[in-house]
Symmetry: C2
Subunit: 483 residues, 2 copies
């Protein structure tokens, strides 16, 4: 069967066979060129990305900083080199009844991978975003499918990556920029040479790719980060002390970037005693928020369609309604529902992409346990409680752990910190693979698999596994971690 | 929807919520009880497993040793505790523009998992085998589906595990033994509480489970170790020096346990110059092999059916034919084919479960590259070459790396060493997940996912992440590996 992308994948596969053996230092040099290149063009890039995404320049400036920061993180990680999990079990030719072989294991890149750009992060989750960079860092060529919402930004960043390849004397097949819509995306995922897929976007988009990838002759992993309503659980003592502060930071997090962050806190659980006071406080904050343009008209349309649906529901009391004034701007909206009603329909758990929140009013601990059991998988869950107040909530916390990838005990889930300890993933349906993260240094592991070498001569062995440890990396040798 | 196994999964889920927080030391104590229990009943267990599997007592004695050894490996791993990948990024409340949160990440168990027993390893890949033990070590309750080929052995081992739970004062829901056939297995995989599946067996069995698991409302990972023909690539200089030795060890590996090992070397590539001499040497070895009973009649039947199919093929020259004398015994068989014919039909890559080998005669390096490109994913590939001879084969080795999980430079692939560095997995179709291993300590990672805690009070934090490192484990703290 012919596939439109045969030539592209052949080029990527050829590049892979040399790129996979490139040293960590040289790969780091290539990433460094990308980061420098992005900084070099920032006066052109920021206004362009801003105009294509409707996100303010200040926000894009921050996102560029984060994007460059991510690249530097992976640059350091692969320059240092321990991420490959080098593991050595020495042999023993004298062992009886059979000699013990020498076995050495390390991570190798999977091969060419397909990365989809996200509309809500034209830089940090797009062309040179975390998925592309972690795959390149692992040693995988990337076939990048640009998001149609910001084509010029994507092309400009792709040129930076191509220039970095050229300066580093690396083959062009290591990064290939593809434009197109859904049919092109599907063909990329179906191509037999593709070894993994990374995606950030809607539940329906992610699941469509997951199903395609599972039905291939050779199934491949899909790392899809999909919807999440990022519940906040608020408790009495905390609300008693700082209700106004919490309402303020909640409203700010909900409306940040017009509510278009993956970690937008669209669901909040408030005890009955404080329901009125909290809703009034949030309401007055939301009334201050000026309307903001969404990423594109399609997203604004979906936002208002979802609100319309909710407005039909008798169970909801509206704290703040959003008037639709035009085709692009959104206003925040918030409604209140009783826990017993919320529990009856899983529709109330679905993400509304945009600045909409559902406030669920609960009566007691018993209701909270029912909620925790019914809750779908989430990227994050936030717990607002006083430290003392938490001591009798250990069973509830244990249940909530099962429902998320990150558990916060302070603050709001937006503003994902890029570092080693960040896990940006979570149980289904927030992602298709709860074992993986799309932010932070562990993201590199998504694109690697182990290979063991048995009795391989030292003259051939990869440096990471050589007796003398020439890379000076951390390794597990006969069960002990050492350098 | 009702499922026959609702009560079982409810019990497992209840057990999970306490078991997941059990300390590594206590879990290790439980595993230790299992290992001791198996050793205690060995005089009863060995003859029973031998009679149910048709494998000789010597082989079962070895397998019991390996099974106990595996348990001890995981016991040590979780007692030591560093496997959880504890990662800490300290916060900084003074950072501008926004304070830096404190983020701490570690691995947690997935939840209840379903493990399928394998027919060819009634102990090491069955009830208390590597899949069950690595899942229990991770903190996951196991719903174990016994293999119908050795029901009494399975029940006896299950009693040992139940006794170990009781002695350790742990809930019964941590290990549940289920009997049944294909419909029961399917219901287990479809149960919404199941979080992962481990399986060792045929391609068709593994893929059936993989498809079921991918089509669930919540898709879950399936770690299926399926077929592999474990190719051996032999080169001139090596054959020149030790052809007879190689033929002897090859024939022994091929017929070990009646050829019923996952790593059975069913495919061998020999240069034209040595084809005649090697086939004669293997033939005289195979002629000495006495017929051996297979695991059960169904397997013997499939073996002969596969041989019958191959006997229709004009492209094959038979080195050794196998006469079918009865319903259970197998004799080794071997046929020869030219590389150009082998390349034309992927049928020649399919595993024949039993002591059958296909010897592919190649003419030159060009043919070897074509072979390497067409080769399906394998658990192992063996390269028989002199060290000097390898220096001009680096590109070929690089291609072969892409096709296997373990690359051997000496010996034969049977006799899988259980240790930290062993990778027993491989690209599709040898497994459904090339990132995972079913042997060795990394097998534990299949049953875990990361959770990050943000700004969690020290009074609540898991010990592995506490400031004082009370477990004394290796952690990554602000990017540095330390204790």
């Amino acid at each position: 069967m012919k596939n439109t992308f045969d030539a592209i994948f052949e080029q990527a596969q050829d590049a892979f066979l040399s790129y996979k053996h490139l040293s960590g230092k040289k790969k780091a040099g290539f990433l460094n060129e990308i980061a420098n290149g992005l900084e070099r063009i920032k006066t052109k890039l920021i206004p362009l990305a801003s105009s294509e995404s409707n996100l303010p320049e200040g926000r894009i400036t921050g996102e560029l900083g984060r994007t460059v920061g991510q690249i530097r993180l992976f640059e350091k990680l692969i320059e240092e080199g321990s991420w490959v999990e080098a593991t050595i079990d020495d042999g023993n030719p004298k062992r009886t009844p059979a000699p013990k072989p020498d076995i050495r294991r390390m991570l190798f890149p999977l091969g060419p991978v397909v990365v989809f750009g996200a509309s809500n992060f034209p830089l940090a989750f797009s062309t040179a975003g975390g998925d592309t960079i972690s795959a390149l860092a692992a040693g995988c060529p990337v076939i990048y499918k640009a998001h149609p919402a910001h084509p010029k930004t994507s092309k400009l960043v792709a040129e930076v990556i191509k220039e970095a390849l050229s300066v580093s004397s690396l083959p062009e097949g290591i990064f290939i920029h593809v434009e197109g819509g859904i049919p092109e995306g599907q063909e990329l995922v179906k191509h037999p040479t593709a070894k993994a897929v990374a995606f950030t976007g809607s539940y329906y988009g992610g699941m469509a790719l997951f199903e395609l990838a599972s039905q291939r002759e050779e199934p491949i992993p899909v790392y899809a980060e999909m919807g999440s309503v990022n519940p906040v659980f608020a408790f009495k003592n905390k609300l008693e002390i700082e209700l106004d502060n919490l309402a303020r930071s909640y409203a700010a997090s909900l409306t940040l970037g017009a509510g278009q962050f993956c970690t937008n806190p669209g669901l909040i659980f408030i005890p009955e005693t404080y329901a009125k006071q909290f809703s009034q406080a949030v309401q007055s904050e939301l009334n201050e928020v000026v309307e903001a343009p969404m990423l594109h008209e399609g997203i604004a349309k979906s936002y208002y369609a979802a609100l319309d649906q909710f407005q039909q529901r008798q169970e909801l009391d509206w704290i703040k309604v959003s008037e639709k004034k035009d085709l692009i701007n959104s206003q925040p909206a918030m409604a209140k529902i009783k826990a017993k009603d919320w529990l009856k329909d899983k529709k109330f758990q679905e993400e509304v992409f945009g600045p909409f929140a559902l406030m669920v009013v609960y009566n007691d601990e018993h209701e909270l346990f029912q909620i925790a059991k019914k809750l779908h998988g989430q990227l994050t869950i936030s717990i607002w409680a006083e430290e003392k107040e938490l001591q009798d909530k250990l069973n509830l916390i244990s249940l909530l752990e099962e429902k998320c990838g990150r558990l916060l005990f302070k603050g709001v889930p937006t503003g994902v910190e890029v570092g080693h300890a960040m896990h940006h993933g979570g149980p289904f349906p927030s992602t298709t693979d709860s074992r993986s993260t799309s932010v932070g240094s562990y993201a590199i592991k998504r694109f690697a698999r182990p290979i063991s070498f048995q009795d391989m001569p030292q003259s051939l062995i990869p440096e990471a596994l050589a007796d003398s440890n020439p890379l000076g990396i951390w390794r597990m040798v006969n069960g002990e971690i050492k350098k």
